[in-house]
C-alpha cells in the first residue's frame, strides 16, 4: 500500500481516462435526447400510401387511353363493338392490378361504371369519357374515387 501511495507516475493516463469518461457521458445524454424526437412524424410519411394511390389513379388514366386505342383497333378487325372490346380489356386490367397490389397486402378494385365512346366510331369531335370507380385499402387507409372521370381521345 505504501508503494501505491508513493508511486505517482502514470497520472496523465488516469487523467485522460477521466476525460474520456466525461465525454462519453455527454454523448450518452445527447443520444438520449435524440431518441425521443421525430419517430411519429417520420413514420407517418413512410406509412401513408400516398404513392400507391397516386400510382393507381395515374396508371388507370394512362391505361384507359391505351385501352381505347386497342378497343378501336380490335373493333376494326372483328365485328365486336367498341364497348364490348373495352369491357374485355378493362376486366383484364382490373384483374392484373388487383393481383399486383394483393402481393403487397393491399386491396384494389377497379370498376367500369360508365363509358361514352359512341362518338369514337362516328368520328364526331365529342369528348369521350370513361367513368371508373377506384377503391384502395391497406387496412389503415381507405381511398375511393367514385367515379374517376377519365377523358380519352382516339
Amino acid at each position: 500500500m505504501a508503494g501505491l501511495k508513493d508511486n505517482n507516475s502514470g497520472q496523465l493516463i488516469i487523467l485522460s481516462g477521466f476525460v474520456l469518461c466525461f465525454s462519453l457521458v455527454a454523448l450518452i445524454l445527447l443520444v438520449n435526447q435524440t431518441m425521443i424526437t421525430g419517430y411519429h412524424s417520420s413514420n407517418a410519411v413512410l406509412e401513408f400510401p400516398k404513392h400507391q394511390i397516386r400510382d393507381i389513379t395515374s396508371q388507370t388514366r394512362e391505361s384507359c387511353v391505351y385501352m381505347t386505342e386497342l378497343a378501336l383497333d380490335l373493333n376494326q378487325s372483328s365485328n365486336l363493338s367498341i364497348d364490348h372490346n373495352y369491357r374485355l380489356l378493362f376486366d383484364q386490367y382490373e384483374q392484373q392490378m388487383a393481383m399486383l397490389y394483393a402481393g403487397h397486402g393491399e386491396q384494389v378494385t377497379l370498376d367500369l361504371s360508365a363509358m361514352n365512346l359512341t362518338s369514337m366510331a362516328t368520328n364526331t369531335p365529342n369528348i369521350n369519357t370513361i367513368w371508373v370507380n377506384i377503391t384502395y385499402s391497406n387496412g389503415m387507409t381507405y381511398y375511393s374515387s367514385e367515379p374517376e372521370i377519365i377523358e380519352v381521345r382516339p
Binding site: H40, F48, K50, Y142, P147, I149
Partner: protein, 146 residues
C-alpha cells in the same frame, strides 16, 4: 468545574459539527422542496413538449399527404396510431382552431399545450374535429360529397 471551563480543546470540533449539520440540513431541505420539480416535472415537461410536437407534425404531414391525393369525387379515410399516454398523461388533439388559426392544438390533461401549423390547408378544405388519445380508433376522413 473550573477545569471544565478552562479546557476548550473540543470546542472547535463541536462548532464544526453544528455548522456542518446546519449546512447539510438546509441543503437537504432545499432539495426536498425542489426535488419533484427537478427530477420529475422538468423531464416530464420536456418529454411532453417533444412528443407533442412529434405527434402534431405527424398529424400535419398526414393531412398534407391526404390533401395531395384527395379524389375529386370520393372518400379517403386514414387510421393512425398515437401513444395513449405521453409522460403518463392522456391528451387531446384539437383541430377546431384549424379554420381560423391554421393550427392543430395538443393539450395534455395537466394543461401542457403545443400547437403545430397546418400551413394554410384549411383555407381550401375545411378541417375540424377533436380526438382523445384514449379513444380506440383515430381516423382522419374526407368526403367530397359532404
Amino acid at each position: 468545574m473550573r477545569n471544565l471551563f478552562r479546557d476548550d480543546a473540543a470546542v472547535s470540533v463541536t462548532m464544526e459539527y453544528i455548522i456542518f449539520s446546519m449546512l447539510f440540513i438546509s441543503l437537504f431541505a432545499l432539495l426536498y422542496v425542489s426535488f419533484g420539480d427537478m427530477m420529475v416535472n422538468g423531464p416530464k415537461e420536456t418529454v411532453i413538449q417533444n412528443k407533442f410536437s412529434d405527434i402534431g407534425n405527424m398529424m400535419t404531414s398526414l393531412v398534407t399527404d391526404m390533401y395531395l391525393i384527395l379524389p375529386e369525387n370520393g372518400v379517403i379515410e386514414s387510421d393512425y396510431m398515437i401513444p395513449a399516454k405521453v409522460g403518463g398523461e392522456s391528451y387531446t388533439i384539437n383541430a377546431n382552431l384549424a379554420m381560423t388559426d391554421q393550427i392543430f392544438e395538443l393539450v395534455s390533461s395537466s394543461g401542457e399545450e403545443t400547437s403545430v401549423t397546418i400551413s394554410g390547408i384549411a383555407i381550401t378544405i375545411p378541417i375540424n374535429g377533436t380526438v382523445s388519445s384514449s379513444d380506440i380508433n383515430h381516423r382522419i376522413s374526407y368526403d367530397s360529397r359532404k
